[in-house]
Amino acid sequence: MKGRKLEELFFRVLMVLATILVAGSFFLIVGTVFFKGFHYMNLDMITKTPGGGFYIGKEGGVLNAIVGSFYVAGGATILGLLVSIPVAIFINLYMDGKRFLSNTIRMAFDVLFGIPSIVYGAFGFLIMVYFGIRASLLGGIIAVTLLVIPILVRTLDEVIRTVPFELRDAALSLGSTRWETAKVVLRQIRPGIFTAILLSFGRAIGDVASVLFTAGFSDNVPTSLHEPAATLPLAIFFQLGSPVEEVQGRGYASALILTIIVLIITILSDILIKKFSKHKI
């Protein structure tokens, strides 16, 4: 009898410890990055592009990478939305009575979601070679778009599924076409679309492996789609590989910048999701 209680207690303690470790790892990571990066953080980091001798520890910042990352992530998210909104609508509103097929398509997107970004990067590189595009902002956007499409489709699909059937039925029974019904649904899920955008943007801005071959790297802010573009994660990776202490330090500061950007995005989307589930009918 006592043994059973003891076992219960033992595992309960174990569970609490595991939970503390898992949830605590977040603080450990963010704490480490803050602790190291804060020391090297200054205004130049976010307002200047690398000056001459930046990579041996002279002055400059990573503005090129910050802007490049926003361009790549923004461009990919916009392109991704153009593809995934029609797809999500099609699965949900145009495939009535074909549940097996629509579920198979859903599963295909789940599988696409699981394909690692390095494979998208390699495939994006193949596309670029095929069309004769050099490592550039455009190449980066293409590869990252492939990466975010599954995220966008999955999120939008889930959001559309929360729209009550009655709403669609009402629209259809009033004589509207499926497309007109889709417009009603789209208006309903507007906050959900923003959530999807944030999720996709957050994933896109932090990913390295997909832009590694495709976006290239440059010390300047890109002014056209055909120029190579630096990205923040790649800048972190390069700077950390430097033997110069100052440059490594800037890598930590860049890591801090990226962490802050991503945290803001994640928290915003969390708030949006909560708001969305509160107001939906």
């Binding site: 059973r4 209680k5 076992e7 595992f11 569970m15 609490v16 410890l17 595991a18 939970t19 898992v22 949830a23 790892s25 977040f26 990571i29 963010v30 480490t32 990055v33 190291k36 593809v83 029609p86 797809v87 099609f90 699965i91 579920n103 398509i105 599963m107 295909a108 789940d110 599988v111 696409l112 699981g114 394909i115 690692p116 390095i118 494979v119 998208y120 390699a122 495939f123 590189f125 193949l126 076409t177 499926r178 497309w179 007109e180 932090g206 990913d207 390295v208 492996a209 590694l212 994660p233 972190i236 990776f237 950390l240 930590y252 962490t259 991503v262 995005i265 994640t266 928290i267 969390d270």
Partner: protein
């Protein structure tokens, strides 16, 4: 009126094209990578590519065995660390934690999943590497730089925490309350109920979560590359450096086009990753979909 119907029809066809195009990406990626790996497969055959340990691109020798082993080592370490911890965490969150604690915990799992891979890499370099080099390794081996498959495994484990916790929690929530009540009313303790009822019921879901996590770990690139040591030999202990497949691709893209067959070899590495991950993903998704259907029925 006709115009409205026409518009609907055209748009529906357009959306169908978009849907088919993006779904067929799965096939196109596979074909594209295979097409690019044909030169090396013809030169050296699948068997030789996978089982040979000699990696000398300049001499035209491409043996992927060390890289496959590197990938297996880090993935195995990651899943061995992560699975029990995440299972316990999910059990605590779903079965024990008061609502208030639950509300505080869930955002952190979310936030953790949002952190980019490169930040995990930075953390690995700053925290895990010194930890292994100074505190862990000296107890077991004479010398280690810290850059090892163990470091890669630990960093990967933390990266897959959110994925495993969220899937297992979802699976646990699908278990009917009546089953738990029946067990508890027969006098079983909560832990006994978990052990003999809940875990048994949730087993397929837990396996699916593990398989999905393994496939995620397989393809993770930058974080592992930063802490693994990247030495093209088969690791023999957890303190040896390793060189997983994704790291190989990422590290050598620069020289890819200057050495004959090298680009083909790297695309073959990508193809290997793609095939393995595709299979694992399909397996786990099928298991999960089946669970969902059972629940709906």
């Amino acid at each position: 009126m006709n115009f409205r119907l026409l518009k609907d029809k055209i748009l529906s066809k357009l959306m169908l094209v978009f849907t088919l195009a993006s779904v067929s990406l799965l096939v196109i990626i596979g074909i594209g990578l295979y097409y690019k790996s044909i030169p090396i497969i013809h030169r050296l055959s699948w068997g030789e590519l996978i089982t040979s340990s000699i990696w000398k691109p300049l001499k035209g020798l491409f043996g992927f065995f060390p890289f496959i082993m590197g990938t297996l080592w880090v993935t195995a370490i990651a899943i061995i660390i992560a699975l029990p911890l995440c299972l316990l965490t999910a059990l605590y969150i779903v079965e024990y934690a008061p609502v208030r604690v639950k509300r505080i915990l869930t955002p952190f799992v979310n936030l953790l999943s949002g952190i980019p891979p490169v930040i995990f890499g930075v953390w690995g370099v700053l925290f895990i590497i010194p930890l292994i080099q100074i505190y862990i390794a000296p107890h077991f081996v004479e010398f280690s730089t810290g850059y090892s498959v163990l470091a890669g495994g630990i960093v990967l484990a933390v990266m897959i925490f959110p994925l495993i916790v969220s899937i297992i929690s979802e699976v646990l929530r699908t278990i009917p309350q009546e089953l738990k009540d029946a067990s508890l009313s027969l006098g079983a303790t909560k832990w006994e109920t978990i052990k003999k009822v809940i875990l048994r019921k949730a087993l397929p879901g837990i396996i699916a979560a593990a398989v999905l996590a393994i496939s995620r770990a397989f393809g993770e690139t930058i974080a592992v590359l930063m802490v693994c040591g990247n030495n093209a030999v088969v690791p023999h202990s957890v303190f040896d450096p390793g060189y997983p497949l994704p790291a190989l691709i990422a590290n050598n893209y620069g020289e890819m086009l200057s050495i004959p067959l090298y680009d083909s070899a790297l695309m073959f590495a990508a193809l290997l990753l793609f095939i393995i991950i595709l299979l694992f993903n399909i397996i786990s998704r099928v298991i999960l979909a089946r669970l969902e259907r059972k629940l709906a029925a």
